[in-house]
Symmetry: C2
Subunit: 408 residues, 2 copies
């Protein structure tokens, strides 16, 4: 007998029909003799409806009251799913975050989980019941309702899996797993059976929005085996795990990309200590997040400094940089919002040389000019002209043979 | 400094604009230096929306889960009203029933309040905050969410007023008080400044649906001064109280009526012990509630037996009675669903003779035939042909001078 935590997001419980389908899926697993804890989000659309009500009353809604409001969304879903389970003869017991109790700090609308009392849940499981828990919410020491912020239901599921020492935590979503890259760009993209936490983190942070980064970090930290599956079709999904079997592991696992960035360069900056701070300080002060940073020394004792920001912040970042350019007596600012960032990710590159050169050769063969390069231990990112995105992704996918299963 | 509990029903908080209006009203009272606890219902329509979701999943929704579901309605309102108060500079703190905590028994969907911990509320009041409490809900010993059943928010308000020893409990509704009779029938109907609990109970049970009977009983039991006021216009409303000042008290306080009854008579029944049970047993077995009952002995050692039921149960009651008639060898069944019941209510009739004769004379003067009479200590009820309803109400209203203030 295994213990599983299942998590269903807003789309998967977005209507009466879908709630019934989830109930069926849960009952099927329960009938096989496994213990099942289900974590659910608010029905899709509900959270936005509640936020709209709040915003109609208060420009900047009070955090404590916002949490009281938003937590009703998941509370509705746990009761409805429990009813659906009862209706098909599967005994179920619902819990709000406060009833569990999922103890958090008091940072309203973005609370962190401190502790989970798993005993009451275990007692219901042992009586043969399915336990249905409201995601995204908890309670602080003073019994105030808190919420965990965007994607908080994934975090709830992982935290419960850790507390209950579950065999696996299943995240049901509208995709059937993690792919080598976006199938809309490369139709040969292949679902991965397995991926490591580190790889998943790199993929997720690069725009493969399958899971919330926070829940992956959490799962990694507490060694919870995460599996991403489709709510709507059968399949084994992708297992995210610590296990690394070198014999099986491919050189790289996937290709992620991000179309939302823009690149800014300030060139001919006198190369003095503290210049990086002088350039980035004003950008940070304007509350603009910076992604890639590259600095090169030019031959005339000046330096060229390039970084990328979100495209929404492009104009503001450029204004800040123009001002800095004048102050520092630098040569000029060049800016480009027609770029895209592509990354190859894989723990395999730790132990294999030549990954970078394979990557660069594949791009060169297609005549694609690389504008920036940045590397980490398990990732190589490049910036290219956005018009080459699809071509580059397909070339890399093929160069690393991602359309073929890894050979064991 | 006085302490008031205000209760606003679903219509009064049915939209963002109305919630803002409630916030303004509350702030106004709070600015005068009074301590205010506000009890709110779910926004109008919300409870029905939730019930429809539940019914779509389960024919007979699980009671525990139904309470988890329905309690979200009031939880949404407390957070929104608190935000509206914050927005206009009035510090507020919301409570769910579980947070208060309002301890109830475990009878889901119709729980009874056992205890209220008023200390946390008092502590917030003493800090100058308005406290906003979710009506209709509580929590049992095992921390399960419970609800109090229809009209439960009134009960919450009265129970909080009792626990906090509030000066008055204000029930804001869509009428501006309790009237001598329905103004749609008698335009001269006058708002009462004061009415006793007993009178209010008789009026309420007779179809003057201003307050839930249960909350009036509760208020009477714990001697909570209740005031019924309009959410939408200014005014002092009607105070419901124990105080009886004989000098001021009118003979009767009001005229209630009920159009929803039907009358059935079985005549020529052999007058033997147990005959009442033989007649009413089958009706009760059919789950039909009986209101008035009258039995007369005829001169031929048989008896005539008449009772009234809700008009919806008329056909079923008649069928049951026809069967009984045959079994008992009674003469016949006569049935009439074209009747109306009118009652005059007043504690004054305890100490004043001649009320009944004044009533009967007023009806006789208008040529109205009385079909049934039934009396209690503070009420006289009659049944007449429904076509005379308006005429009878106006005649009685005038005969008892209800359009004039009581003389002190």
């Amino acid at each position: 007998m295994a213990l599983y935590v299942y998590k269903f997001g807003g789309t998967s419980v977005g209507s009466i029909e879908r709630i019934k389908a989830v109930a069926k899926k849960v009952k099927k697993a329960h009938d096989l003799g496994d213990q099942i804890v289900v974590v659910v989000s608010a029905m899709s659309g509900e959270t936005n409806r509640l936020i709209a009500l709040a915003k109609a009353l208060q420009q900047q809604p009070n955090g404590r009251e916002m949490d009281v409001l938003l937590s009703t969304g998941e509370q509705v879903t746990v009761s409805l799913l429990s009813m659906a389970l009862h209706e098909i003869g599967c005994d179920a017991h619902s819990y709000t975050g406060s009833q569990v109790k999922i103890l958090t700090d008091s940072a309203h609308t973005k609370a962190r989980i401190l502790n989970i009392d798993e005993l009451p849940i275990r007692s219901h499981l042992n009586k043969g019941k399915v336990v249905v828990v409201a995601g995204f919410q908890g309670v602080d020491e003073q019994n105030n309702i808190t919420t965990l912020g965007r994607g908080g239901s994934d975090t709830t599921a992982v935290a419960l899996a850790a507390a209950l020492k579950a065999d696996e935590c299943h995240i049901y979503t509208d995709v059937d797993g993690v792919y080598t890259t976006d199938p809309r760009v490369e139709p040969k993209a292949r679902r991965l059976d397995k991926i490591t936490f580190e790889e998943m983190l790199e993929m997720a942070s690069l725009g493969s929005k399958v899971l919330q980064i926070r829940s992956v970090e959490f799962a990694g930290k507490y060694n919870v085996a995460l599996r991403v599956l489709s709510s709507f079709k059968e399949g084994k999904g992708t297992l995210i795990t610590y296990e690394e079997s070198p014999m099986e592991s491919a050189l790289i696992s996937g290709i992620a990309f991000n179309r939302d960035e823009a690149k800014l360069t300030i060139s001919g900056v006198p190369d003095l200590p503290g210049v990086a701070f002088k350039i980035l300080g004003p950008v940070a002060d304007a509350n603009i997040e910076i992604d890639m940073i590259i600095q090169n020394i030019a031959d005339d004792a000046t330096t060229d400094f390039t970084f990328t920001v979100h495209r929404n912040d492009y104009q503001r970042a450029k204004a800040a940089l123009d001002k800095t350019c004048a102050e520092l007596g630098a040569k000029k600012v060049t800016a480009d919002d027609g770029i895209v960032k592509i990354s190859i990710v894989g723990v395999g590159m730790r132990s294999h040389a030549g990954i970078a050169s394979t990557m660069f050769k594949a791009l060169a063969d297609e005549g694609i000019n690389i504008k920036m390069i940045s590397t980490s231990e398990i990732k190589i990112s490049i910036v290219i002209d956005e018009k080459y995105l699809e071509l580059a992704v397909r070339a890399l996918h093929s160069a690393f043979k991602l359309d073929q299963e890894a050979v064991s």
